[in-house]
């Protein structure tokens, strides 16, 4: 029988930065909650974990990353570090979305919020989990997921909405697909709509709980790849970050003369 594989997972999609080393089916994590320190702390955290378990990068089978949505800079730090480590050690990269990683992490969270704890410990056969992250500029990244037999299933892909649309769409999902299903909302996106949570609660006849303090975590990403077989594999290390927000209003220049037919480009 072959030993279960060992691998590393990284997440830096919010102000929390986390690293998980999976060795023989066990999950070992390190995290840092200091905003804007991700680049500084990530490699030392990885080195610490590897040393502690007597592992080297080359003994791993892959590197798992959250590719967003979330902080643009955080996502790039995470991907760039994963690219360097993976390319330098000849490993593939497996990328998952950070909202799924958040949903998964919430479903196994060791010390959840009391409300979340009581729902999880009742082992519902079906659970609706809505991870939401504050996207600033008064918008929210979110997705809808069902947890069934301890497995996460996306029922809507990661998207970006205004608070009003978010509340309306979540209410509709509950009314149409999950009125009798317990519901949990996790992630700091919920802080943006604290005053509208009762609108959502009235749609749901089962138990509800909210915990804005749970954020995406590398352990969620690591488990998604193992349990749900989620993730896109990249052998050459090229991964497209999931920014979602691509249409930020950068103002284009106004021309007086007509634009030249072919703009000069040097690419030697």
């Amino acid at each position: 029988m072959s030993l279960p594989e060992s691998y590393l997972a990284l997440d830096a999609s919010t102000e929390k930065c986390s690293v998980t080393l999976v060795v023989e089916g066990r999950f070992h994590s390190r995290e840092c909650n200091i905003p804007r320190s991700h680049a500084k702390v990530m490699l030392p955290l990885i080195q610490e974990l590897l040393n502690e378990h007597g592992m080297t990068l080359r003994e791993l089978s892959k590197i798992v990353v959250s590719r967003g949505p979330g902080s643009f800079t955080g996502i790039r730090i995470c991907l760039s570090i994963a690219q360097g480590l993976a390319y330098g050690s000849g490993l593939p990269i497996v990328s998952v979305d950070s909202l799924a990683a958040l949903a998964k992490y919430a479903s196994i969270a060791a010390t959840p919020h009391p409300g979340l704890h009581s729902i999880l410990s009742s082992s519902p056969s079906r659970l609706l989990i809505i991870p939401a992250l504050d996207a600033r500029m008064n918008e929210i990244y979110w997705s809808a997921n069902i947890l069934e037999n301890n497995l996460i299933k996306h029922i809507s892909e990661p998207t970006l909405s205004s608070p009003v649309d978010f509340v309306a769409e979540v209410s509709a999902i509950i009314s149409q697909q999950a009125a009798n299903t317990p519901f949990v909302g996790v992630g700091h996106g919920w802080e943006v709509v604290t005053d509208q949570i009762d609108i959502i609660q009235t749609k749901c006849s089962a138990a509800t709980a909210f915990d804005a303090s749970i954020l995406p975590h590398a352990e969620g990403a690591a488990r998604l790849v193992l349990d749900e077989k989620f993730g896109e594999v990249s052998e050459d290390g090229v991964i497209e970050p999931l920014y979602i927000r691509n249409e930020v209003a950068w103002e284009k220049r106004k021309r007086i003369r007509p634009a030249p037919q072919t703009a000069p480009q040097k690419d030697s």
Binding site: R76, S80, G84, L85, Y87, G88, W250, R257, S268
Partner: protein
């Protein structure tokens, strides 16, 4: 010692392999000029997005092309000054590669990279020399005793020379980056038609100021503008020529003064504006008169590139300097604070 160099401080993704025994083995550059010219200047978020997309494939190309995939002894990456998000991409990839390869890594000062770029050429200048650093973000005169031994002689109190070129170009509705486009237009201009000021040349000292020249250009353009909002084509070219001449003369006067003041006989010019032909020509003439020599890098190594970073990093790694695994980029980083090699 064979070094992989990575440059991502602004709008060019540069990668190179430099070998201390064999010299420069290969280099590649991806320029984002086309992307940013739509916006009339660098959009930092878009720059970072492009770096993360382009860097790894570029590294793969250069390593394969130089047969260095399993032969790298150290990694050098630009860790400042520059755009923080852009710097982070190169620093994170570079530092992590070194960790995976189990080799030393070093963060390189972008302007030291520029400053040492002329040393990549066949007849490199010997130390000591005076360096004129003229790029999009910097205009500095530095006395250089050796690598890392930098004494600031003077610098711009406001806009950098490259920035002044870019802004003047914008006033003439030229594409970003304006420097090379303005220089090209100036070739068609009559340099005698307008007389622009040579700021701060009538006073002693080696500092620069280009913001007055910017205002002067703006006023001249406004004064001659037609209904379109621009002067006629010939006038635009004449303004370009007068502007370029004023910047070049100012730089030449200060360089000559710096050589006289330090008693040094060699000048190197580096950074994007050092690609300017008129500057090279006038410096050569002026320095010949005082028995001094000017050195510069080949055109493609005047603007940002990976070769200069690989070279500068190699010099430091050779003497055992290196960074730990804490990735620390510095958007602002005074050149004088570097340690000597």
């Amino acid at each position: 010692m064979r070094i992989l160099g990575i440059e991502t401080s602004c709008d060019e993704t540069g990668v190179a392999v430099y070998d201390s025994e064999q010299g420069l083995l290969g280099h590649r550059l991806y320029s984002q000029i086309k992307l940013h010219s739509e916006y009339g200047g660098v959009v930092p978020e878009l720059a970072s997005r492009d770096h993360v997309r382009k860097l790894l494939p570029l590294i793969e190309d250069v390593l394969t092309g130089t047969d260095s995939k399993d032969a790298i002894d150290g990694v050098a990456f630009t860790s400042g000054p520059g755009l923080i998000g852009a710097l982070l991409v190169g620093a994170c990839v570079g530092r992590s590669l070194a960790m995976a390869w189990n080799c030393p890594a070093i963060g390189v000062h972008h302007m030291e990279g520029h400053l040492l770029a002329p040393l990549l050429e066949d007849n490199p200048p010997e130390f000591p020399f005076v360096a004129l650093l003229v790029s999009g973000g910097h205009t500095q005169l530095v006395a250089v005793k050796g690598i890392g031994q930098y004494e600031m002689l003077g610098e711009s109190l406001d806009d950098a020379a490259g920035e002044a070129f870019d802004k003047a170009a914008k006033m003439l509705d030229l594409d970003y980056p304006g420097g090379p486009n303005l220089a090209k237009l100036a070739e068609q201009g009559d340099v005698t038609r307008f007389k622009f000021p040579r700021p701060m040349t009538d006073r002693p000292g080696l500092d620069f100021s280009f913001s007055g020249l910017k205002t002067f250009t703006l006023n001249t353009v406004a004064e001659h503008s037609l209904a379109s909002g621009l002067p006629d084509d010939q006038t635009c070219a004449d303004i370009a020529a007068a502007f370029q001449e004023a910047v070049v003369d100012t730089l030449v006067i200060k360089c000559r003064r710096a050589l006289q003041q330090t008693g040094l006989k060699r000048l190197i010019i580096a950074g994007g504006v050092s690609a300017n032909s008129r500057l090279r020509e006038k410096l050569q003439q002026a320095l010949a008169k005082i028995q001094s020599e000017v050195f510069y890098a080949r055109h493609e190594f005047c603007t940002d590139n990976g070769a200069m970073i690989a070279f500068a990093g190699c010099q430091r790694l050779l003497v055992g300097q290196q960074d730990d695994v804490v990735i620390d980029v510095k958007p602002r980083w005074p050149l004088q604070t570097l340690s000597a090699v």
